[in-house]
């Protein structure tokens, strides 16, 4: 990968991180629960790097990072999360259902494994209509508990669909290591795809370069007509998710930590954004350049938030529109 490409990857990851940090700082303005992608930025960046305009992407309840990484308008996202008017959703969707049809995200299901099964159909459409592009289905390790996931794997394999299963696995490992996690009897999550004869790879999702390589390989195989692929991205669970609402227990990301190995705690060691920054430093990029990039990302994220927070709510009539076809 070239230097500018890698800077672009860091930019995508920073967009994702700063978006969620700003949101957490303003959580009091949000109704209900929301889910952040802190720690998932490597997956988001790999997705953004591998996708083409003709692809479709099915996200889940934890969708902010991927949208930020693929370039969705962050002010529109914030407006939606705050229940304001603005984008096409006009306050009907909220954080759980953020979407961006123009970038291949027509709909986001917040039901565990719900989107995966929908993605099977999207891939079927691509195949039967001979349309360009492939489909990505992003989901958590928890979705591996659902029968819907199993049925989806079977259908995708039987029909050789152009579909990349992306499992963002942030579960704590099982104590004795004989199981994938405490809620899975299988030894590994990849085994559950593999048994359906879907080639499956497990990768350290905290290592953005490895993550991107794994994603690119899978995507190339799927684009080549090789049928579905399965990726397990092993992620360190971000401690801020432990509470009902995310809390910034690890503090705001400080990119200069990339130059202070061991300075911060366990989370810093696992943080994919810092990992990416460290790799860039190793490649000879100057920290100052990274900080300039970060400042510009932050500024644009903060502008987006401020503008969204000042936006009006949609009129009441919006609540009743778009239910059935006109």
């Amino acid at each position: 990968m070239t230097g500018p490409d890698r800077l672009r990857r860091l930019a995508a990851m920073l967009r994702a991180r700063r978006f969620d940090e700003t949101l957490i700082a303003n959580a009091a303005l949000v109704t209900g629960v929301f889910h952040v992608s802190i720690g998932h930025e490597g997956v988001a960046a790999a997705l953004a790097g591998a996708r083409r305009a003709s692809d479709l992407i099915m996200l889940n309840h934890r969708n902010h990072g991927a949208l930020a990484a693929i370039g969705t308008d962050l002010e529109v996202c914030y407006r939606e999360i705050l229940g304001r008017d603005g984008g096409p959703q006009r306050g009907r969707a909220g954080s759980l259902h953020l979407a961006d049809a123009a970038r291949g995200v027509p709909y986001t299901s917040a039901m565990v494994a719900g989107g995966v099964a929908l993605a099977v159909g999207m891939a079927l459409a691509k195949q039967r209509l001979g349309r360009e592009g492939i489909v990505f289905a992003c989901f958590g390790d928890g979705a591996m508990g659902e029968g819907a996931m199993y049925e989806s794997l079977n259908l995708a394999a039987l029909w050789a669909l152009p579909l990349v299963f992306v499992c963002e696995s942030n579960a704590s490992a099982d104590r004795d290591g004989s199981r994938a996690n405490v809620l899975q009897a299988a030894r590994t999550l990849t085994g559950l795809a593999d048994v359906h004869q879907i080639p499956a790879t497990s990768v350290d999702g905290g290592d953005p370069e490895a993550m991107a390589r794994t994603m690119d390989d899978a995507v190339a195989a799927v684009r080549g007509g090789g049928g579905p692929r399965f990726i397990e991205a092993r992620l360190q669970p971000w401690p801020g998710n432990a509470a009902f609402l995310p809390r910034l227990v690890t503090g705001e990301l400080d990119l200069s930590d990339a130059e202070r190995p061991g300075a911060a705690g366990a989370w810093s060691a696992a943080d994919p954004v810092l990992a990416e920054a460290r790799a860039l430093l190793r490649d000879g990029v100057a920290l100052a350049d990274l900080l300039v990039l970060d400042r510009s990302v932050r500024a644009s994220v903060e502008r987006a938030f401020a503008s969204a927070a000042g936006a009006p709510s949609a009129p009441d009539s919006v609540a009743m529109s778009g239910v059935w076809a006109p």
């Binding site: 027509p106 049925e151 239910v323 076809a325």
Partner: protein
Amino acid sequence: MTLVLRYHEARSRALFRELDANPSLLLLGGAVALPFNPDDGLLERYADRILWPPISEFATAAAAIGAAMAGLRTLVPISTSSFMFYGWAPIVNEAPNVRYLSGGTVSAPVAFHVMAGSRRGGAAQHEHTPQAMLHNVPGLRVLAPATPADVDAAVHGALTGDDPTVIVDNVRLAEFEGPLGSSPADIRLPTLLRDGSDVLIVSYSLMVQQALLAAGLLANQGIAAAVLDVAQLAPLPHAELLAATERHDTVLFVDESRAAGSPASHMLARVVQARPRVTARLLCTLDAPAPFAPALVDAIVPGPAQIAAEVRALLGR
């Protein structure tokens, strides 16, 4: 010259027509007429238009919805309606949200076909009336045809409309005959199938045919019963329903569903709200799962005799 067909013939004709009109229309499974109605040759004639899924109702339903969002329209013949309970989540909690959550920019035009109601011998797990659940879901279109013209319109509406649609069909409608217009009717409009000044019977699906038989029995007894067929259960065409019922002060709502949650109870509520002086009554299947033995089914599901008796009781004659 009007074309007169049996219900199952009209259904096959409509399905073949839509398959021919839309070359990318795909069937996920093939059990529309089969196994309970006469074989219409669908499976051989359109073999390449049918993809047979494993017994995976959840993923099949969801795949159909996802395909619809991505431009591929499918019909999912679920066969016995209760199998759809395995795919309930995508049908009631994904498909109907697509348009709403996208602010109208994305839609999920997909069609499900189920055989509902008591077919006799199906017993507790095979004779449901899921329309009593489905009509509660905003964003779903629920069609329950009663006549050849209805099924023609329902198949056309489901396979050309822009809403996720469930066709709630009934195995026992197959042999009923009726006329067809030169093009599919508008399924949203209630149809007055028989006029009569003493009482109006409002129903849908098989119970419309039973009501027509009941009206015949009542005519022999000097009672003139009108029969109104409401084939679109959701969204319910309120204004049209009210207009079609306004000439009658005595209305019997008949439904093969159990009363609680039945489309008939909803229609009754709409009508009595608008016209408080109407005398309205509900005749539904009694509150038990479907028993196996046909005699026991007849003890709980309304037939022509029960409908006629209810009308007489309502009129005090």
